[in-house]
Symmetry: C2
Amino acid sequence: MTTKTGDQALIKRINTAIVLEYILRGSPLSRAQISEQSGLNKATVSSLVQDLIDGALVQEIGTGQSSGGRKPVLLEFVASSGYAVGIDLGVNYIRGVLTDLRGNVVAERTSALRLTEPNAAVDQLCGCIEHLMTEAPSSPYGIVGIGVGVPGLVDDNGTILFAPNLQWRDIPLQRLLTEKFSLPITIDNEANMGALGEQKYGVGRSINNLIYVSVGIGIGTGLILHKSLYKGASGFSGEMGHLSVEAHGKSCTCGNRGCWEMYASEQALLEQAAPLGFEDLESLLVAASSGRQDVLELFSNIGEYLGVGIANIVNVFNPDAVVIGNRMSQARPWLENALRQTVVQRALGFHLRKVQLLFAELGERSSMMGAAEMAIAGFFARVKAT
Amino acid sequence: MTTKTGDQALIKRINTAIVLEYILRGSPLSRAQISEQSGLNKATVSSLVQDLIDGALVQEIGTGQSSGGRKPVLLEFVASSGYAVGIDLGVNYIRGVLTDLRGNVVAERTSALRLTEPNAAVDQLCGCIEHLMTEAPSSPYGIVGIGVGVPGLVDDNGTILFAPNLQWRDIPLQRLLTEKFSLPITIDNEANMGALGEQKYGVGRSINNLIYVSVGIGIGTGLILHKSLYKGASGFSGEMGHLSVEAHGKSCTCGNRGCWEMYASEQALLEQAAPLGFEDLESLLVAASSGRQDVLELFSNIGEYLGVGIANIVNVFNPDAVVIGNRMSQARPWLENALRQTVVQRALGFHLRKVQLLFAELGERSSMMGAAEMAIAGFFARVKAT
DNA sequence: TTAACTTAGTTTATTGGATAGACAAACTAA
DNA sequence: TTAGTTTGTCTATCCAATAAACTAAGTTAA
């Protein structure tokens, strides 16, 4: 069993984390404010703040306004004390970003994925990471970690079990990158990363329970419950693209029938659009915006099926918000009505009272920003554990 | 924000909880064993154990075998230091139990629910509780709490928002019982209680992630994730009976279409059985065991639809086990094949590797035992918080 | 200008846990 | 008997949080 026991060091970690949290959220603010708001003694706050300053995570930035007494010394988190790399590895692109510890973008880099063969792709990925790392200003903590979002199922060791559209199986990406960079590496599904990105930096800021639905070639989902990413019992879940919405519908490669993503994904859209002579999403978006009736009906149909699945998700998880992301979010104007109507019709009233239907704000950058956030969050977790 | 700060009392609470946990799980065992296994210092363990003995939660029960030195003093949890009441309030019955703090049944009581009108039903419920309470031997902590499982949607204040089969709306049951008994009261959905009962005392013992599917008139679900009951964002979830499995299927009273419980519940079974001249589950079970072909096909059909929904659940939550409970679990012999086959066919391979399909062991008593467990768990939570 | 009052942050003595190590008690094995 | 082992308690020490006293640096009103 060996549950972790409590000692004085634990107390200090807990309280340091609290103080850091206040500075991260409320800065600039003074020691006195932290003490009052947190309930910690002034002396305790002073001591912990000093440790944080010594650790280069916090700095004094001058004095604030007096309210009839000594001026407060304002504290601020030092965002530039370290940097994080976030990568979105797509089926035909690699998108990467370098951010500071607040998620401010310092450098960005996009390139087409030349070869999908695993070795070559990983090489190109490493090149992208190295390039971004050289862009980082020198800082006390340097590069604190690398997060990578991938289009596939990832286990909790960061091994890509299966990435259908890349035709990858059992690629131990975390191990490969750890060997190469000797830095903390986080690998996760693109939808989980997207969920995190939107929750932290996008339309879902300050929403505690949200579900991100990544509608691309397939459908992936990322669940943020009680402010943190929910993983299934054994570390991977979110394969809700394979929720069956038509018990006797089309057979899916996964073995199930009537999977949601067979009716509501980009793939489903393109299949239906082929007879009309369309071959990609972009041309369909153009046709829709010029008002072509048959194309509008296609989108409306997709919107309805998206709604069917989302209603299911709402009934099961009862979240505060559902965020539609990835490529299909560009079709918002032509999806939204049908989607909204379907969800309202189908979700239970008790849940509907609360849930918001939103579209991703970061667009194609959700996943990459989420990956950077993962690396940042990992850094903070380590700081708090020391 | 006011996150709870850390102080010495917190350490003591944490470590006391650890020691108590070891005694609950591993008893009888000695102070030395606890120290060695937990990593806590011998002196610390001695001191905390003394507190627990003073608090009547632990007692010394003599010495154990020596392994070449002084004999250890064996410790045991005192199950009889308090008692809990667990109630299963059904549509046409009230089932109640009195247990000690280990969940051993001390007294049990079943009666038919005379009137479903809320006031009358609550009166009868109170009578049942009072009767059980008088059966409790005198003990240091007395009755530590009352748990009640109900067939409906419950919010986190213990108000029954909606119980379709009782035709109740907005009954503040927790408040009513608190006023009456001045004891800690926990109200929850019958399926959540059942999940807890099976996880603690039934077939799911020692399984950390399980999903309990209560198949009665409707279908309810209780999720135990990482050893604890999962509630949705706003305190109620588990309405997976209304997962749509046929996007364009039959309309449900909930507003959705093709809800799972319209195809796989007792109600669904009875509807299909009516043309054959059956009116209740019991007669169908008799017919099935005598081998009537058309009835067997009915059960097989229900089993298949149960499998469709369970495959969905498995894909979403990736649990260690799925437990089928409530009335329909009696039909196991005629459901199981079709169910198993469907799940294997439809669930993703990665999830299947792990998941077990089980049937409730406590039968009709799952929910009641879970309710008692809720009360017990509440007591321990309070002990650990002091 | 001064005295009275406020507020910010530090210093000091105290409290209450956990801990290592010494110790006593109780046992085994030779 | 004697040496060694195991259990459990006792004691001195450490360390983080805290209250209260204190210093620093401002405002306000006469």
